[in-house]
């Protein structure tokens, strides 16, 4: 597949946006309201969700890999890479599968993605700890993911409406097939 310059640029901008969103998240410590390890808004998932619909799976995957690698690099934390990769990849895979279901709206796909993200991160926690203990947090994390998933779904829906006039907006009818 030949990548258009415009698409490549959009990918780069989205990767930068995802990185910025991950960083920005630390200013809204959801963990203060819900004291659970690993609780966060998951704003970077907005970018994954948008890229998945607007650019397709390969672009969404590359944006995600760039985001996770650079994020871990900037944080200087190698074990953070496993967490963000497992979480983000599970979210992407589940959302890619469900986005094929025509009856689901962007909200359903986003919520499933947020839930999958938590499952991936709990798996990463179990791997690093070598213990099943983190599984105890999963039910609570899943409940929180209903809200965070709905929120990022809402934001992505707004984003698609705002982008409706561009080739990467709601309909995408001007865009190549």
């Amino acid at each position: 597949m030949k990548i258009k310059t415009r698409e490549l640029t959009l990918c780069a901008v989205l990767a930068a946006l995802a990185l910025a969103l991950s960083y920005m998240e630390s200013f809204f410590p959801l963990a203060l309201i819900v004291p659970l390890p690993g609780v966060k808004l998951g704003l970077a998932n907005i970018v994954t969700l948008y890229a998945l619909y607007a650019l397709g799976f390969p672009s969404a995957l590359s944006i995600l890999l760039v985001r996770c690698t650079l994020g871990a690099l900037f944080a200087g934390n190698a074990s953070a890479l496993l967490f963000s990769l497992l979480g983000a990849l599970s979210a992407l895979l589940v959302m890619a599968l469900l986005s094929g279901a025509k009856k689901l709206s962007i909200f359903g796909v986003s919520i499933a993605g947020a839930a999958a993200h938590n499952i991936g991160q709990v798996c990463a926690a179990m791997l690093t700890l070598g213990s099943g203990a983190p599984l105890y947090y999963l039910p609570f994390l899943l409940l929180v993911s209903l809200f965070t998933g709905a929120l990022s779904g809402l934001i992505t829906a707004c984003l698609f409406r705002a982008m409706a006039h561009t080739p990467y907006g709601m309909k995408g009818e001007n865009h190549h097939g």
Binding site: G56, F57, L98, S99, L104, V109, A112, A115, G130, A157
Partner: protein, 129 residues
């Protein structure tokens, strides 16, 4: 492969919500199935996946655990275990609060420490006689 997503919630989204709720419910109910034997709880402390301490809750008197440059102080009061203090950066383990029921855990990821409450340790009765 440009697909246009539905931007308004549909009834099918409720199905996703129900599925997530069901999964959360199942996972939350997991200890209920395991805890058939009424009896004493066992405190199990593991560092890096290796159990370093395991004893009945009633005889547990807390402990100080060092791992990966962090020090965690675990205490016990009235049948509940909690991390009283830790010098880890995110303090999730301290904020987790106290645990007192089967299946509950406190996890400190930076220190790789997990404190878990298990059912009666009848199979592993360490004090044999």
């Amino acid at each position: 492969m440009n697909r246009s997503p539905k931007l308004k919630p549909t009834l099918w989204d409720a199905l996703v919500v129900l599925a997530v709720l069901a999964l959360a419910g199942l996972l939350a109910a997991r200890p209920l199935f395991a805890a058939k034997t009424a009896g004493e709880l066992t405190v199990s402390v593991s560092i890096d996946g290796e159990t370093v301490e395991r004893c009945a809750l009633s005889s547990y008197e807390g402990g100080v655990y060092e791992s990966r440059g962090y020090t965690l102080t675990v205490e016990e009061t009235d049948g509940a275990v909690y991390v009283a203090s830790s010098d880890c950066p995110n303090q999730d383990c301290v904020h987790s609060g106290a645990i007192s029921r089967v299946g509950q855990s406190i996890v400190c990821l930076p220190a790789r420490v997990a404190v878990t409450l298990e059912g009666a340790a009848s199979d592993y009765d360490l004090i044999a006689g």
